[in-house]
Amino acid sequence: MLEKSRRMWFLIGIILLVMSFGFCVSAVEVMQPEDASIDWQQCAGQEINILDIAHSTSMILEPMIPQFEKLTGIKVNHLMMDENKMRVKRTEDLLAGAGRYDIHQIGLTIVPQYYKAKWLEDLTPFIGDASLTDPEFFDYEGIGKPLRDGQIFNDYICAIPNMFCGVYPHYRTDILAEAGMWFPQEWEDVPSLYMPKLKTFMSNTYKIPAFVTRGKKGAGANTAYASMLHRDWGGEWFDEKGKPIFNSPEGVAALECYADCMDPANGAPIGGEGLGMYEIRQMFYLGQVASILTSGDLVGMFDDPTTSNIVGKWDATIAPRGPVKRTCLLWTWAYGMSSHSKKKDAAWLFIQWATSPATMLQWGAQVPPPRLSLWESEEFRKIREIHPGWVDAERWALLFGMPDCQPLIPEFPEWGEYYGIAIANVIAGRQTAQEALDLACKQVAKVVGYSE
């Protein structure tokens, strides 16, 4: 009887193992480009230029570009630069109507402005063209819906998401374990409890700042992270008449908390008002700060033994909540096609290839792919064992993240500049949060054409 039972359990085990293996294999089984029902060589001999941002996805993609060139016979010039410089170059190119770059990296917040200016080609006809797109290979619907929707404006598909990330705290597991601490789940506790306590603990050992977030001004720079807290406190950007109202008591309290998180007296580094995305992540992977608020696409960078001093010594957690709610900024980068491009078909073939499940599967576990089906890959599962908090935080961001944390309006650059300067001024102690936001609201009202 016992023997029979054992055999039965053994068989069940085997079946489960085979099933799980089968699940794994089936989950990562994707159509390869060679099997797609389109002629990849239809634009052979052409040359396309891509203006890209130097983020994890494009860095992973770059060495894979020769595969595309071999597949299609299209020569690709892939230019990567840091975020702000890429934004400048992109606007210059699109404004001049030169069509120097066929494909641009498009962020979530710029879509309304570019749609208004008709600078981006509607990708709907390309997706629907059977000679250019194999629906089974491309699987547009497989890209997370909130991410796809973020790039659609008035039924016009402006770009195809190739990367997403949530924004949440990342911390050094070794330091926090030594200190017997964990990252707080309330924003108000960060500057008042967590940072001073960690600062005191590290004063004789690590001697590094306890926490840092973005202080450098700019639309999508410090505004992105401060807007999370703004929402957590229940703040809104505009009222129903279009009047800027982010100087409300909620907005002021949120900005005060954000500035407190950047106060050197609480354990932040000096010069916080000038620290941007690149400085912060560099500080973290060099082991120069114990915790940071940053985007969740940096696994590859933080776990790269050639550059990082914190390999396997970090994790992340779901973003803390504010007095009203818990918000996580959901960000998307996407490939958009310039309406001035003269090689649109070739450009589309690249976008299709770069954002296809087959290409994204090759990323491994270095970046969370915007296709949930690929999260079941074996490599991605391994990551869970090392950074379980990061996987939870990223999944939470994908499920509950807020793409419109910042106002998605055509005047986003102006809003971001004025709000960003206000944040930097408060961090530097040049103005109170109320003064800075009153001024910013006045400037933004002028930009959006609101008058009493």
């Binding site: 934004r87 404004l95 208004k116 200016a117 000038g274 700060v289 300067i421 530097a428």
Partner: protein, 307 residues
Amino acid sequence: MENTQISLRVLPCEHREKDVSMTKIKRETYLWYILSGVIILAPVVGYPLVEFFRLSFSKWVLEESTAYFNSGRNFLEIFRDPLVWNSLKLTAIFTGLALLCEHVLGFGLALLLKRTSLSKILPLYAIPMFFPPLAAVVVWLNMFNPQFGVVNYLLTFFGISPQAWVFSFKLAIPSLIIVDAWQWAPFPMLIFTAGLTTIPQRVYEAARINGASSWYIFRRITLPLIKPFLLISILYRLIYLLTTFDLIAAMTEGGPGDATLTIYYLIWRNTFQFVKVGYGASISLLVLIATIVICTVLINATKSKEA
């Protein structure tokens, strides 16, 4: 012209007629030369200039990617815009201090090189000038890094606490000036070195024989004699500094906050970030006029003193 009249007076009548007709031919030839230059320059310089004037009196409509004439309202807005005035103030501070630092440093180096055997390695001092601006920025950004920068490390030897340099409101402009002076002080140095070599040694010897002190010699001989070189250097660097963009864009992006938002960065921000092309062109036009006026005043001031 004066010389021609004198020669006409002394020439016999038949020769005078011949000379007049020759002058006519010469004039026509000159006109053709000028005309050919104008024909070549008109599309290259003229068209962009006309377009620039048109844009500065227009409002750019994003939806249509077109500029519409708006009766000079941009200029009214400029005078009401506090950011423009703040940017002008920052530009004046940055330009003035950078110009001063570059020239004091450049002049000091030139004197040092003249009086010592260090002049043998003169080209080495000019190396920073040949650095690509972005490479210089990358190097200095790392040096200024508040956490692991070498500048803060050196300060600790003097008991000075670490500073945030380019990342802080207070030190952002001084940091830019340090980088600029490091890179561009060799330029006045080379100009001054050339200027100093033109002063005859006997002038100094005569002054010394007459009992002049070093300070007197510097003030009354060296400085007046290198004034034309100083003017060239100041003019060149002034125009460059007033239009500085690459250093600020790469190092501070106008920040922290608006601490380094100079007038050229403001123009760029309005034109390319806010897509307010007409407004950006209007500010550019005013800056262009101001630059021409400043340079003309500077040249005339020096000329009148010389006269």
